[in-house]
């Protein structure tokens, strides 16, 4: 059996450590070991974005990140977005705008959109479309997703 490696990291603001095989992806560890199944697997090769998480402030496809690479770093997953009694504006606006049908792409899209709004609080439609082009949604045709991101940007702007 392959020797497993010990990894210490921060996930959603908490210290976490785990053992994994050197070739295991972050997505596999999140889902199968840490039971953070909000990140989804749609392709396992970086083409659908369903597994998007934020690593040190940048969005990544967690299926393309080796789990040992997160040693000493900071991971945010969809599970780390909402507070106990409130949703993140993106989550709220996805609901208000019916921006999900089956919902399997939703965690990845919300994380990707968060990555955008964190660095560009007022993106144009074109900027949103370009940024989200790595996240496939097969149900919605993206229309309501774009609108939800725009509305969330406005909601967050209003709060500041």
């Amino acid at each position: 059996m392959t020797k497993r490696v010990h990894v210490e990291t921060r996930i959603n603001g908490r210290e976490v450590d785990f053992l994994c095989e050197p070739g295991q992806s972050l997505l596999e560890v999140l889902r199968d070991q840490l039971h953070l199944t909000g990140a989804k697997e749609g392709c396992n090769n970086g083409n659908c974005g369903a597994c998007t998480v934020i690593l040190d402030g940048r969005i990544v496809d967690s299926c393309l990140v080796l789990a040992p690479e997160v040693e000493g770093r900071e991971v945010t997953t969809i599970e780390g977005l909402a507070g106990p009694e409130h949703l993140h504006p993106l989550q709220q606006q996805f609901l208000e705008h019916a921006a999900l049908q089956c919902g399997i792409c939703t965690p990845g899209l919300i994380m990707a959109a968060k990555g955008l709004l964190d660095q560009n609080p007022a993106p144009t439609e074109e900027e949103i479309r370009l940024w989200l082009a790595g996240n496939l949604c097969r149900c919605t045709g993206y229309d309501k997703i774009i609108r939800a991101v725009q509305a969330a940007a406005q909601q967050m702007e209003a709060r500041v």
């Binding site: 989804k40 659908c48 045709g141 774009i146």
Partner: protein, 761 residues
């Protein structure tokens, strides 16, 4: 006596037509919702499938010994571990299959019939051990010539996929083996006489390739075969009851031994109707004594789940100079994949359904080829057929110098018009209204941008039709002391149906939407429900919750009678959530009565089981503006508007979403998506990188126009809305490109490569 307001007499609804947040929403935006692959159990094993590298090969021998000896491997199976069922017909949605074919598709027996066909499976303590075990299985194949092309497959001397397959030739079984499983025909009037009257005839052949539903969540199932013989299956499916029934037959156990627990489902579009890994996981669990989870990779999905047919359709339309269509002829051949049962007959039924045409002959051929067995895909059969018919109509309009909307209006079907299958439109349909809606739209009235030297602009229009399927729904509900109602239904919620059913029940009972708490139950908790498919969940489920609401109202009236100590003949009225007795001021709100149920005989539980004999037919008309870059061949969608007759939009946002999603899939089908096989029958683009589905960057906002021509027999006038929007985009896009470039494109996809090869031959 119970008196309720008849919904059709009601001009305003309180709940229907509003846009509340879906009940499962918070779980789905926080990552808490449990989808197929999220299921886990103590002692869980991981199952993996060994798949054929050959498109067509005899399996001489399978040696699983080395795999079985690998530490950590707990079970290995082949087709020898599955019973071989008979040829009864299985329920797999709008495509069809015999149980035997279903079984042989789930696991190859004797012959592998497409690349990716399952030949063995293992269960192991980890995914990596399972992968290693697959590599240790040796299969002795005798490769056979693959049959990959529709025209070749139909030839008399083509290699045969099934030595025992005989053509069902217009109802009689022919005596010679063939790859043509069936030839069917719809005939109306006298086409030859019709064509003799025609001033103009348009005639062309159109082709499409296999495409995939492309749901983002791969198939994922977990099965546990307990020591008492009870099989529990957690699976992502559109059809928990059909999966239960199919698995029972495939494993030769009574249905009472199989329990299917549907998880949340990450898209299906028809592709999650048939069983794939469920029976394999169950058998691996029986052999290992532990629960087994199996998920398909994206490559496995593309190679070996159920895409939709590639097709070849010949169309001939004859019309008078004034635009009156006098006759049509069509011949459609669809790839069924490795086993018979494509939706080609649905295609031939749909293709001219919006029109009143006196003479028609529509021939359809169901053809097996060495590609995966097709499954249903959103309005199955209709998109490819209407790509052909609506393209030909566009050309006819051009030849006649007529506006494409006027041509369609002139020939439109009306109440009483019979479809190709001789079934008349009994109730009002929206085909004329959607055409008028597009004619009056801002989009249609707006001028096109100017073409430039390298950027050619075109506008295209097309209609779509899909009959929808009512099928069976059942449900029950309990009134809680706080005035809430727990609704238990049986349709996996693929796009907001918990909301649309809760809304229709709330409307029926006259209570707020938030008071209805819907649950999607497993196959042992609720009565039989057909699939989430056929655009039926909001339609038939709506009828069911309406009937359920009547049952609850009746029971509440009797409880009020007890409270008020009234006689059976005293009139009690239930209206808008208030129960009124005959005396002045004698009334109780729903909540007040709900709080007193325990002293009047215990909880109130309502139920309904429905199987409607009618269905609301669905029509759409779409228009698209696009730009073709003649240097790169890239097509940019500039503007898109879709009008659809939705009957009554229960939750308009989700209705719009269905239309927008269908349009996106249709645009992908028209422009980029295709199965590309090499000569050996190997799929060369089996990943999301190479199987190109539309991204957010490929599409504009999609404008929707909801036309509401109520379907009278439905309590709220609802029509199914989910499927028809995928139909018009294929021809609308092709027509627009044809106008932009002055050349008719008859083969999909109209990819950059095809455009460049056409422009610069």
């Amino acid at each position: 006596m119970v008196t309720t307001t008849r919904p059709s007499e009601k001009t305003t609804h309180k709940v229907i037509g509003t846009r509340p947040i879906r009940p499962d929403g918070v779980d789905k935006v926080t990552g808490r919702a449990i989808y197929g692959a999220d299921v886990t159990l103590p002692g869980l094993l991981i199952g993996k499938v060994l798949r054929s590298p050959f498109a067509h090969a005899r399996i001489r021998n399978i040696d699983t010994g080395a795999a079985e000896r690998l530490p950590g491997v707990r079970a290995v199976i082949t087709a020898a571990d599955l019973p071989d069922p008979d040829k009864g017909m299985a329920d797999v949605g709008e495509a069809s299959a015999t149980y035997r074919d279903l079984s042989h598709n789930v696991m190859a027996r004797d012959k592998a019939l497409y690349q990716g066909h399952a030949v063995a499976a293992v269960a192991a303590e980890s995914a990596s051990i399972a992968e290693q075990a697959l590599a240790l299985i040796t299969v002795d194949y005798e490769p056979l010539p693959p049959v990959l092309d529709l025209v070749e497959a139909m030839k008399d001397d083509a290699p045969l996929l099934h030595e025992d397959l005989r053509t069902n030739e217009l109802g009689t079984l022919s005596d010679k083996p063939s790859n043509i499983a069936a030839h069917a025909r719809f005939l109306k009037g006298d086409p030859a006489a019709g064509f003799a009257e025609a001033d103009v005839i348009v005639e062309r052949t159109y082709t499409t390739t296999m495409v995939h539903q492309g749901y983002i969540e791969p198939h994922a199932s977990t099965a546990y075969w307990n020591a008492d013989g009870k099989i529990t299956i957690w699976t992502t499916t559109q059809a928990p009851f059909a999966i239960r029934d199919n698995v029972a037959v495939l494993l030769n156990v009574p249905v009472s031994r199989v329990k299917v627990i549907p998880t949340e489902i990450g898209g299906g579009f028809g592709g999650k109707l048939p069983p794939y890994v469920e029976p394999l996981a169950a058998v691996l669990s029986r052999k290992s004594g532990a629960p087994v989870k199996m998920t398909m990779s994206r490559t496995e999905e593309l190679q070996a789940s159920g895409p939709t047919s590639g097709s070849r359709t010949h169309v001939k339309i004859g019309a008078k100079r004034d635009g009156t269509i006098v006759a049509v002829e069509a011949s459609l051949a669809y790839e069924a994949g490795a086993f018979p049962g494509s939706s080609v007959r649905f295609g031939s039924l749909c293709m001219f359904a919006p029109y009143d045409i006196p003479n028609m002959q529509l021939d359809s051929y169901d053809v097996v080829v060495n590609k995966p067995k097709v499954a249903a895909y959103r309005a199955p059969g209709s998109p490819a057929a209407m790509f052909a018919s609506e393209s030909a109509l566009d050309e006819l309009a051009e030849r006649l110098g007529m506006d494409p909307i006027e041509l369609r209006l002139k020939n439109s079907a009306k109440v009483g018009t019979r479809m190709a299958n001789n079934i008349p439109f009994q109730h009002p349909v929206g085909n004329v209204k959607v055409l008028e809606a597009i004619r009056e739209s801002d989009h249609w009235r707006s001028p096109l941008p100017e073409s430039t030297e390298t950027r050619k602009i075109g506008r295209g229009l097309a209609m779509g039709f899909w009959p929808n399927a009512p099928l069976k729904s059942s449900c029950f509900a309990t009134v809680n002391p706080d005035g809430s109602v727990t609704l238990v239904e049986g349709n996996p919620d693929i796009g907001g149906t918990r909301a649309s059913l809760a809304m229709q029940l709330a409307e029926t009972l006259g209570i707020p939407y938030e008071k209805v708490i819907p649950q999607v139950a497993d196959t042992e908790t609720v009565g039989y429900n057909d699939a989430t498919g056929g655009s039926r969940t909001t339609f038939t489920g709506g009828i069911a919750v309406y009937e359920l609401g009547q049952d609850i109202k009746q029971q509440l009236i009797e409880r009020a009678r007890i409270l008020w100590q009234l006689n059976p003949e005293d009139a009690i009225v239930y209206e808008d959530g208030t129960i009124r007795g005959p005396k002045e001021g004698q009334q109780l709100s729903f909540d007040q009565l709900a709080a007193q149920l325990f002293k009047t005989g215990g909880p109130v539980v309502g139920r309904a089981s429905v199987s409607p004999k009618h269905v609301g037919f669905a029509f759409g008309c779409h228009v698209v503006d696009l730009a073709v870059d003649i240097e790169t061949g890239k097509v940019e969608i500039l503007r898109y508007t879709a009008a659809q007759d939705v009957g009554k939009a229960v939750h308009p946002s989700y209705v719009e979403g269905q239309i927008q999603g269908g349009v996106a899939q249709g645009i992908g089908w028209a422009l980029n998506e295709e199965y590309v096989y090499d000569e050996q029958g190997r799929l060369v683009n089996a990943s999301f990188l190479d199987y190109r589905m539309p991204t957010s960057l490929d599409l504009p906002m999609i404008e929707t126009i909801l036309v509401e021509e109520p379907h009278p027999p439905h309590p709220f006038g609802v029509r199914g809305v989910g499927e028809v929007p995928i139909v018009p985009p294929l021809a609308a896009v092709a027509n627009a490109i044809s106008h932009a470039l002055g050349h008719r494109f008859t083969d999909l996809p109209i990819s950059p490569r095809r455009i460049i090869e056409t422009l610069y031959p």
